[in-house]
Symmetry: C2
Subunit: 243 residues, 2 copies
């Protein structure tokens, strides 16, 4: 049986998705819970890894088991065995060939920035606190310049191992609600650190350090050193994976 799960997690105390010896990871927590409930050692495959500290509203993963309780009671049992900062929102039995990473068509991320003087004690884990003045119009323009198909090498982690850095963005929007600034992006795939590097660059545009029309050249340069710094992981949420 091939089981598809939709998972929410607070990434604050995790060293990211991928299992690592001696560290708390989301994949590790899931493997442990599944083994506890089914007695089976499985491999849990996500749509993609998330960085240490990054959150997910609806990460998707799948795993194979030889037998399992009904979906409703399996989900309940797994949530009972999982730490409370990882929750299985949906659990379904799917076709044997469903593959959470290969079959993902689109992914959406949201990056959250708090620009006010005092971050709420209930929200500091989920916002990057950035108090310099930000000009919205140039940020909106710069974000829009990333729409469509581009080689995103300039925004990829220097150590990235992806064969091709060509990705398509269907949405790339900055909006501000009071002191809260959100960057929302949807694409057919993302390179390592790509969203955080885009945000770091957009913040340089917002503070006037960089011009919005320079984004086209930045993409053409295909040079990580030309883009802005990597924004911290705590503001990043994996929002949705479409299949």
């Amino acid at each position: 049986m091939n089981i598809k799960i939709t998972i929410a997690y607070d990434g604050t105390r995790f060293s990211g998705w991928q299992i690592q010896p001696g560290r708390d990871t989301v994949q590790g927590a899931l493997l442990c819970a599944i083994q506890k409930i089914t007695g089976q050692k499985v491999d849990v495959l996500a749509s993609g890894r998330t960085d240490a500290g990054t959150h997910a509203l609806a990460q998707v993963a799948n795993f194979h088991v030889t037998s399992a309780p009904t979906p409703a009671s399996f989900r309940r049992a797994l949530n009972g065995a999982l730490p409370r900062d990882v929750r299985i929102r949906r659990l379904e039995i799917v076709d044997e060939d469903f593959h959470a990473r290969r079959d993902a068509l689109r992914k959406s991320y949201r990056y959250q920035i708090y620009t006010g003087p005092v971050v709420s004690p209930f929200e500091y884990r989920y916002y990057y606190h950035f108090t310099y003045d930000l000009e919205m119009a140039p940020m909106i323009e710069a974000a829009r310049a990333l729409l469509g198909e581009h080689d995103f090498t300039s925004f990829a982690a220097a150590a990235t191992t992806a064969k091709s850095a060509v990705r398509t963005l269907y949405r790339s929007e900055v909006r501000k609600v009071g002191y809260r600034l959100f960057y929302q992006v949807e694409g057919n795939g993302f390179l390592q650190h790509m969203v955080r590097n885009i945000v770091g660059t957009l913040l340089e545009v917002g503070t006037g350090k960089r011009k919005p029309y320079s984004m086209a050249n930045l993409l053409k340069a295909r040079d990580r050193r030309m883009a802005g710094p990597t924004a911290p992981s705590q503001g990043l949420f994996l929002v949705r994976v479409k299949y």
Copy 2:
């Protein structure tokens, strides 16, 4: 100088407001930050203590110092010295005779319950997860029966030391938004555990274990053993203190 501060805190990791040796408390964190910034050992007095695990959106406290930076930079410096789960939202210089506890006229609390199957990993610290079916109409009626001036002995912690248990409630409302149930209460004062004991009793009304018209007799009984259990502290927020 008499300094009035309005404080928000996430009570999750604190053993309540009041300073205790060897424990993390909100008062202890504040004393420590004030001493670090001003070099002065002060006494920080709140409008009232909150229990271990209880949160505050706007607790009010005051303290006296012989000298201090301007309010804006004092607040900034204190927030820099405080852990991120305690934030000073406002800091003002007030009349020498202002007293955060004695001068409080009204206090508002909110209690949060999540009734759905899966609590979000971003919210579990702030909701009591209660999954039994709840009937709203009787709960609303029972909450309303507490409005006005009553002796609340039945809802006070057994060990309470208050001289009089007579308090007046100006608001006592239950409402449900999707899976979220909120109890909102405003009064001229509250006995220890009073809100949590009211909520524990209202939940018994909601599950049919207790009738809403029994609330009048429960108040008359002045007997803690007649009321419901104490609802867990994690769902409770001190919302506002009026002066």
